[in-house]
Point group: C2
Chain length 318, copies 2
């Protein structure tokens, strides 16, 4: 009796909706997979938002970063599904930077955006649990909807992130094939006829299966796979047919829109299966550098956003 009543009271609380099942319907509705990267390079912050000396040690610098990225969040809300803060640039500002990041994540989520925190964390056992609690926990200090993680330490070290994602409706994106020129140093080396990145992808298959969303079938275990390497991406897609791809390298890093969506597959509204990140091209468009007028800065951001949305929207429709 008490078992039945416990069960029925549990049934009345809905389990959290998976990250993939929250992301994919938004991407379908918007018609494009653009993710806006929030990488506050201090040297690029326009005069409109600058405060104090803009040195990392100046406490007003974190305010400037928060002002700029808060304004970007407001501009992109409703037009993209997800933003990706790069935590390194916040860490560079010490605890004030982390406080700015915390507030920025809250602001983005209040504006209806999903937050993918690009932190590339990875550590053993109880330390990985600490990171999972920090960013994917039910009471995370800096609440993200998803987190990037590094697999070098071994698959056992990913388990705490998988568990937190499953329990709390969050996602993780495992580094598989990164966009930088030196990514081949280790990732492309052949192990029994297969590159290391392929072995990583295959090793994720079982966890990816356990994180598949009941609504869309897409997994909340995703992979990072650079737009600069479309052929390698195909191999990863074969190993992980329902994993979401986070594709960096589009725009500033030289990958085209069609290369960026090369691993996507047909869905009800066009090609789908991941998100394509653009950071500098949206947040620091050439035309916005010297602008001191808020309305003209907004127009420059909007124009950069329009262009990326058009390019990527066309790529998933064609």
């Amino acid at each position: 009796m008490s078992g039945a009543s416990a069960r029925s009271s549990r049934d009345s609380v809905s389990p959290p909706v998976s990250f993939a099942d929250r992301l994919i319907p938004r991407l379908r509705a918007l018609g494009h997979p653009l993710c806006v990267g929030l990488d506050p390079h201090l040297a690029s912050i326009p005069a409109l938002f600058a405060r104090g000396t803009m040195a990392p040690g100046d406490e007003r610098t974190a305010e400037a970063v928060e002002a700029l990225l808060g304004a970007v969040v407001d501009r992109v809300a409703g037009r993209v599904a997800v933003v990706k803060p790069q935590i390194a640039f916040f860490e560079q500002l010490g605890w004030r930077g982390m406080r700015a990041l915390e507030r920025l994540c809250e602001r983005a989520r209040r504006a209806g955006l999903l937050v993918l925190l690009d932190a590339k964390r990875g550590d053993i056992g109880s330390t990985a649990e600490g990171y999972a609690a920090a960013y994917l926990g039910a009471e995370a200090a800096i609440a993200a909807d998803a987190l990037t993680v590094n697999p070098y330490l071994g698959f056992d070290t990913l388990a705490p992130f998988v568990a937190a994602a499953k329990a709390n409706g969050r996602g993780l994106f495992v580094l598989v094939k990164t966009s930088n020129p030196g990514s081949g140093d280790l990732q492309d080396r052949e192990i029994e006829g297969e590159p290391l990145f392929g072995l990583v992808a295959r090793g994720l298959a079982a966890s990816a299966e356990t994180l598949r969303g009941p609504e869309t079938g897409w997994s909340s275990l995703g992979v990072v796979c650079g737009a600069t390497w479309p052929e390698q991406g195909q191999r990863v897609r074969e190993a992980l047919p329902r994993a979401l791809f986070l594709v960096p390298g589009y725009g500033a890093q030289g990958g085209s829109a069609s290369a960026a969506v090369a691993t996507f597959v047909p869905g009800p509204q066009g090609l789908e299966g991941g998100i394509v990140n653009s950071s500098r091209a949206i947040v620091f468009p050439e035309a916005a550098r010297e602008i001191a007028d808020a309305r003209r800065w907004e127009q420059a951001i909007d124009a950069a956003l329009d262009q990326a949305i058009d390019e990527l929207g066309n790529a998933v429709r064609s």
Copy 2:
């Protein structure tokens, strides 16, 4: 003329002493390679230091962590050369945790300790520069003497850390063979007859050479190589004869003192060439759990410290 005067004025400012040349003389003077890991597992914090609910979201939790680890720093100052805060446990407490870490690092350095920040960072290009500036920069927000980094993204991504270490007399420890059971998933896989961790070690050789200290000959580019894998450690030592080893896995993780120093080589005061980390056994000794008296807590920490120093001191003398 102006060139000569610029040179002479530059000569009058001493270049920073390398991390290795600061660490090794201290280790020789102390006669043991113990590094005390500062991993504030919230569930283990003694009642003596607890504040509030001790939940990660409670703002008093960071105060409790700072109080405990500040007291540990005061106990170990003068008895060990280096402490290793594990940043995950601070990140779990949000920006207040990072502020506690910042203060703790300052306190440790004021007490004459070197700070090795265990953050296992790694990212591409300008982002790696951000991390290097955050922790190894001349004006780092959270100033560490050395940082752990992850090589999965490729050797190009380590260059900003090497450059910052060289410019500012700091060190880095690259993950090569980690202490966890699953470390073999990727690190042990054979590539043309050589395990991946061996390929990583060989790939670091040139950078290790550029970071050799003029006084001791030891390199400020170190490696992480678990005490649980002494044979693999030998292979790494052969590839990197003058790299410092950060050896985790001694004590709580089951590695013996002699296994922990298996990669060390004879020096003027016994075996040398790295540091051996112990975290839980020192910071949370069994006997200190239920203690509510400050003097008795100090005695428990001292006893744990004595035991580790004795064991490791014997291991490097024998």
